[in-house]
Amino acid sequence: MVEKIEHLEMCGITKRFPGVLSNNKVNIHIKTGEVLAILGENGAGKTTLMNILYGLYQPESGKILLNGKHVSINSPREAIALGIGMVHQHFMLVPTLTVCENVILGLSKSFLVDLKTAAQKIKEITDTYGLAINPDAFVWQLSVGEQQRVEIIKALYRGANLLILDEPTAVLTPQESNELIQLLRNMAAQGNSIILISHKLHEVMALSDRVTVLRDGEVCADVLTRETTQEALAQLMVGRKMAPCKREGTFSPGQTVLELQDVFAHGDKGTEALAGVSLTIREGEILGIAGVSGNGQKELAEVIAGLRHLSQGKITLNGKESTKMSPARIIQQGLGYIPEDRLHVGSIPSFNIWENLILKDHNHPPFAKHTFLKKKAIMAHSASLVATYGVKTPNLETATGRLSGGNIQRVILAREITRSPVALVAAYPTRGLDIGATEYLHSKLLEARKNGIGVLLISEDLEELLSLCDNIAVLYEGSVMKVMPVEATNERILGLLMAGIAEET
C-alpha cells in the first residue's frame, strides 16, 4: 500500500519550452480532503504544471515535496507509485475492450490475467464512491461521461489518493458535469485530494475549496473559494475587467434567409438523427439551438451545409432550394459555417494561416486567376484579416495548428464572416475557449447580427444562448421541442425541454 498523501507541495517550478516560459517559479500546495482548482486561461501553464507533477515533463528548476519529503518524479509510473493519478482531457481507453480490461491494462505482471479479482476490486471502488459502471461493458458502448468515470476508476484502482483532472467537464453535458461535481465532492469528503484544472468559473466555484490562479505561467493569486466571487476570479485570470456581451438594440428581423421544412436525416450509425425539423432564420436574427449534444445538432449543421443527405424535407437558402445542392454551391449561395471540430474540419493544422484563410475562396478572383493562385492578393488579404481579427501569430506562414484554440477560431471566424454570408451556422463556437476568446467571439456574432446576417447558434452553454439569441429552439432526439423568444424563457424551462419534458401549459 502506498503512503497516503497528506500534504503535497510544488515549489519554485520553472519549465521552459522552445520560445515560451510555460511555468515561472510556480508554487502550489494541497492537503488531504481538499479540492484545489488551478484556474487560468488557455496557455497559462496549467496543464504543463500538472504534467510535471505526473512525471511527463521534467522542470528546469524547482522541487516537489510529498508529506514534507523531497521526491523526484520521472515518469507517470513513478507518479502512480506515489499515489498520484491523472485523468486527461482526452481519454486513453481502448474502445473494443471492456471496462475491466481497460482498467487493468498494463498492470498485470503475470502471464495470465485474473479478470475476476479485478472485477471484484473495481466493484469495491465503484460501490465506495457511487460510480455506477458495469465492469463488463465495452468502452465503445459507454457515453462520454461514463468513459470519464472509467478513467477515474483506472486511477483509483492503481491506488491514487491524489487525483488530477484536466478540464474534466469540457466534454460533458451540463447534467453529466453536475454528476461529476457530486462525485468529486464525495471523493474529497472520503479523504482524497483533488486537483482540478479548469477555466470554467462556475465549476470552480461549485467544486473547489481553494483556487490558485495562473496567468502567463505565474501564480497571480491563491484564494479560498468561499472568500471570492466569479467576477473577481475572472478579473484575476484575464488581468482586466470583463464586460459580458449582451444583445442590444431592438429585434427587427428582415427576410427569411434560411428555412428548414420537415427535415429528416440519418446519423453516422444509420439511425434517424433528425426527425422532422422545421426552423426559420431571418436577417439580423440569432436563433439558438439548445440541447444536450448528440441530439441531432451535428447532423443539423451538416445537412444545412450540404455535407449530409436529407432523407426527407426541404431546405431553402437565400431564396433558393438548397436541398440537393453540392457543398460548393451552398457556399456560393451564401452560407457561412463554423464547424464543431475546428481542428479537423474548420481548418487544417499543418497548413499555415494564409492557406487556411483561402480554404473556401482559392478558386475565385482575386485569389486565383486561371490555373494559378495569386499569392500577392492572398497575402495582402490575409495580413488585413489577421490584423482586424487580432489573430496572435508570429507571421502568416505559421502552421495554424501551433496557435491556441482561440486564435484558430479567430482564423475560421475571419474567413467565414469576411465572405459576407447571408446565413451563418456556428456549431459550439466557444467550446473549450477561454474567457477572452469567448468574449471576442460573442461580440463578433452580435456584430454579424447587426450587419443583417442570420445566425444559427448551436450551443450547450445556456448562459451563452440566453445572452446572445433572439429566439431559442430546443433540440431533443432529433426534433424541435419548442421555439421561443428569449424573453419567454429561462434556464429552468430550457433545462426541462432539453431533458425531453414538454411543459404543461
Binding site: G19, P327, V345, G346, F351, L359, K360, T371
Partner: protein, 360 residues
C-alpha cells in the same frame, strides 16, 4: 550520483539545417553499414565502392548509363509523388509502367508503317492512357467504396506483369524470333531519338518537363492547393466544397499515366520491342525515390540519378565477383537511415540528468 540520459524535445519548427544534412549523413551511414557487410563477406569495401562510383559516374559511358536508368526511375517516382501528395498510396507504378509499355507497343506492332510524327505521339498517348486507365481501376472502388488502394494497386502489378508476359509468350510473339518471349522489333519510326551519341533517349525531356510542371502545379496552382487540402484532411476538403471523388479519379489516372509514360519510354527508347521483364523494379524503387525526395519533383530528378548510379554501380561490381544486390541493399539502408533521421528534423536531442537538470 546523477545518471545522464537523452531526451527528445519537439522543435518549434522543423530544423532547416537537418533537412539537408540528414539525407547526406544517411547516405554516408548506409555506405558505412554496407562496408561492414562487404568486409564480412570477404570483400574490400573501399575497392568495391570505388568501382561502383567510378563506373557509374566517373566515365562518360557509365554516366550516360546512369542517366538511362534514372529516366524511368524519375518518371515513375513523379507519378507516385503525385498520388502520394493526396495521400493516395499508389504503389502500383510497376504495373502501370508495364501497361504503359503494352499500350505504347500496340501501335508499332499493329501499324508498323506509320510515319514517325504519328507513331511517337500516338505511342505516348496510348502508353499514358493504358497506364492511367490501369490506375483508374483502383481509383474507382477507392472513390466510391473507400476500398484500400494500397492492396489493389499492389495486386494489379502482378496482373499487369503477367498480362505482358502472356502477350509476348503468345499473341504478340515475334514469329521470326525463334521462340524467345519477345515481340517483333519496332520500326525505326517507333524509336525515341537518342541523345549525345549514347543510349540516353528523349525520355529525359519527358522527365525534366514533367518535374517542372508538377513543381509548378504543387506550388502555385489552385489545383495543387486542392490536392494538398484533400491530402491533409478529407473532412476539411469536403467542408470547403471540394469534389473529393473527382480528384481521386483524376489524380490516380494522371499518376498511372506518368508511370505509363515511363513504360513507353523504356520500350521505345531502350529496348525497341516488348519483352518479358522490361523493368527491374523501377516502379518499386520509385516509391523510395519519391519518399526520399519528400515528394518534391525537382528533388526527384536528383535522387533518381543517385539511385540510377547505384544500379549501374551494382552491375559494374559484378565483374569483381560482388553480387549486384549490393545496390539494392544500399538503396534499402539509405531509406532506413533517412526515415530514422527524420526524428532529428522534428526533435532536438538534449542531455539531461536524472533529476531533470539540463546539461546541454
Amino acid at each position: 550520483m546523477d545518471r545522464l540520459r537523452f531526451k527528445l524535445e519537439k522543435r518549434l519548427t522543423p530544423s532547416p539545417v537537418m533537412v539537408f544534412i540528414i539525407p547526406l549523413v544517411s547516405v554516408l551511414l548506409a555506405l558505412l553499414l554496407g562496408a561492414i557487410f562487404l568486409s564480412l563477406t570477404g570483400q574490400k569495401p573501399l575497392a568495391v565502392y570505388t568501382i561502383m562510383f567510378t563506373d557509374s559516374l566517373g566515365s562518360k559511358y557509365g554516366f550516360t548509363e546512369t542517366i538511362v536508368k534514372a529516366i524511368p526511375l524519375a518518371l515513375t517516382a513523379l507519378g507516385v509523388a503525385l498520388a502520394f501528395k493526396m495521400k493516395l498510396w499508389n504503389i502500383g507504378a510497376e504495373g502501370q509502367l508495364y501497361m504503359g509499355a503494352m499500350g505504347a507497343s500496340w501501335l508499332p506492332l499493329t501499324y508498323p508503317t506509320l510515319p514517325i510524327y504519328f507513331m511517337l505521339p500516338g505511342m505516348v498517348v496510348l502508353g499514358m492512357m493504358a497506364g492511367g486507365l490501369w490506375a483508374l481501376l483502383t481509383a474507382i472502388p477507392r472513390a466510391i467504396w473507400k476500398v484500400n488502394e494500397i492492396i489493389t494497386t499492389l495486386m494489379l502489378n502482378y496482373v499487369a506483369i503477367l498480362w505482358v508476359d502472356y502477350l509476348v509468350f503468345g499473341p504478340w510473339r515475334d514469329p521470326k524470333g525463334s521462340n524467345f518471349p519477345i515481340s517483333a522489333p519496332f520500326p525505326e519510326a517507333a524509336r525515341l531519338p537518342e541523345l549525345f551519341n549514347s543510349r540516353i533517349h528523349a525520355g529525359l525531356f519527358f522527365a525534366i518537363a514533367l518535374a517542372v510542371i508538377l513543381a509548378i502545379i504543387f506550388k502555385y496552382s489552385r489545383w495543387g492547393y486542392s490536392i494538398n487540402v484533400i491530402g491533409s484532411s478529407e473532412r476539411a476538403a469536403g467542408y470547403a466544397g471540394m469534389n473529393i471523388k473527382r480528384n481521386i479519379l483524376l489524380v490516380m489516372f494522371l499518376s498511372g499515366a506518368i508511370s505509363g509514360l515511363a513504360g513507353m519510354a523504356e520500350v521505345s527508347g531502350i529496348i525497341g520491342k516488348l519483352q518479358h521483364g522490361i523493368s527491374p523494379g523501377y516502379g518499386y524503387t520509385a516509391i523510395i525515390v519519391a519518399w526520399l525526395s519528400k515528394l518534391n519533383p525537382l528533388a526527384i530528378l536528383i535522387v533518381s540519378v543517385l539511385f540510377g548510379a547505384l544500379q549501374v554501380g551494382g552491375y559494374a561490381v559484378q565483374v569483381e565477383g560482388v553480387p549486384a544486390a549490393v545496390a539494392t541493399m544500399l538503396q534499402g539502408t539509405i531509406l532506413f537511415f533517412v526515415l530514422g533521421g527524420e526524428v532529428l528534423t522534428n526533435y532536438r536531442v538534449r542531455l539531461v540528468s536524472r533529476n531533470g537538470e539540463e546539461r546541454k
